[in-house]
């Protein structure tokens, strides 16, 4: 139920965006988030974007985990 799926915004028209979910395009409402732009990554929950995802942190997730685990060894 509380599933959230990340996707990339391709186009925005008023309160609706076309979002690319790894190749599948779907319409997602963006009423619940501010300052969202084309190219941003969002978290989709039942057809609504509930948060903008910082691309850098999402992409570097494994690196951040590794750095954290390494820091515990010191």
């Amino acid at each position: 139920m509380c599933v959230g799926v990340p996707g990339k915004i391709l186009e925005i028209e008023e309160n609706e965006a076309i979002v690319d979910f790894e190749g599948t395009k779907q319409k997602v409402r963006v009423d619940l988030i501010d300052n969202v732009e084309e190219g941003d990554y969002i978290l989709n929950h039942v057809g609504h974007a509930i948060e903008v995802l910082p691309e850098k942190e999402a992409k570097e997730r494994l690196k951040l985990f590794r750095e954290y685990l390494d820091s515990l060894e010191e």
Binding site: G4, V46, L53, R66, L69
Partner: protein
């Protein structure tokens, strides 16, 4: 370093700092249980650590009476739209699926947005709106954008922190919470502070990838090890400290909080959302006569209410896997994809990890 190696490293680190006593954490999310069970994460965790599921399944906690309301409306000829899991949940006597097979117009939708489209083609449309803080704002957003006059909501939203507080009050024996990531995307850290400050219960906001969950569990054990109790955000890429304030504001404008019943658990103070007076024109309960008899939450032999409050597991239930299966469910925990019984039936309890 690939994911498997990172998972091993998390596992090793967790085991290094696990005390020798029995330790228990409760998570409140079917999506967490799904990931933990599907990926066999329990096999990477210490043997003396029990990570168990609490009342984190919206379909499971919706009282039979509210399912009965939807069925009654459907029988009156109103079109009902709801999420797929709600279709097969038993009410007191029957399910929406049964009503549909008798001719009622019940539609399954993935989103309230689809229900809005259906409203264009039918006389009256009631969206049976269930879900926690993650989902409630999506319905608030739709009501704030001028839905059609024939569109109504049967609201059965529930709130997570009051249910967590119930677990503390019930004296269910446990050491900390793995808090649900996407509920937290909306509400942020603040509503959990009471658990750390008042009850001394470590609370870790945790994401849903296998490594996110191991990271959350490591953070939990770090607090057990250090003795310092706090609310920590281990899912920073999707959870801001203050949550999504725009979504919170919409939720507050459209809904008001009330003392709500949870299926088989009873009433929990300030744990439900109903439409505020300003939006009563969209409230199915205000606009239709719904007369019901007695309701029945728990069917004979079903232990869903104990499983939802971390006082039992599916394996403690005599019906699990034999009489009660996803094809022939006796209770909501076996119906919903987010119910612990359904998840354990599909994946088994401790399968080998395969990532």
């Amino acid at each position: 370093m690939d994911k498997e190696k990172l998972a091993d490293k998390f596992s090793k680190k967790i085991k290094e700092i696990t005390p020798s006593r029995e330790v228990r954490a409760i998570h409140i999310c079917g999506t967490h249980e799904q990931a933990i069970t599907q990926y066999g994460l329990r096999s990477l965790l210490p043997d003396n650590f029990d990570l168990t599921m609490g009342p984190g399944c919206p379909v499971c906690v919706t009282p039979a009476r509210e399912v009965d309301e939807a069925i009654e409306l459907a029988k009156q000829g109103v079109t009902i739209a709801t999420f797929g899991d709600m279709l097969n949940v038993p009410g007191s006597e029957e399910s929406l699926s049964d009503a549909r097979s008798e001719g009622a117009d019940v539609r399954v939708v993935y989103s309230i947005n689809e229900a809005l489209k259906i409203a264009k083609d039918v006389e009256e449309l009631v969206f049976f709106g269930i879900g926690f803080e993650t989902t409630a704002p999506t319905n608030a957003a739709i009501l704030k954008s001028n839905p059609p006059e024939n569109f109504y909501i049967l609201s059965s939203h529930r709130l997570i922190p009051p249910a967590m507080e119930l677990l503390v009050d019930m004296d269910v024996n446990f050491d900390g919470f793995i808090a649900p990531g996407h509920v937290s995307t909306i509400i942020g850290k603040e509503p959990y502070e009471v658990f750390a400050n008042k009850y001394d219960v470590p609370t870790i906001i945790t994401g849903f990838e296998p490594l996110d969950i191991l990271f959350g569990v490591l953070k939990f054990f770090e607090q057990i090890d250090s003795g310092e109790t706090k609310v920590e955000n281990a899912y920073e890429r999707a959870v801001r400290d203050k949550g999504n304030q725009k979504a919170q504001k919409m939720m507050t404008e459209v809904f008001e909080v009330f003392d709500a019943k949870w299926r088989g658990i009873g009433e929990i103070p300030n744990s439900g959302l109903k439409l505020s007076d300003e939006f009563r024109e969209f409230d199915a309960r205000e606009n239709f006569e719904i007369e019901l008899g007695e309701s029945r939450d728990i069917h004979p032999g079903c232990k869903c209410h104990l499983i939802l409050t971390a006082r039992g597991t599916p394996e403690d239930c005599g019906l699990f896997g034999d009489e009660c299966t996803p094809q022939d469910p006796h209770g909501p925990c076996m119906v919903s994809d987010e119910g612990e019984c359904n998840i354990w039936f599909r994946y088994g309890r401790r399968p080998k990890m395969d990532i």
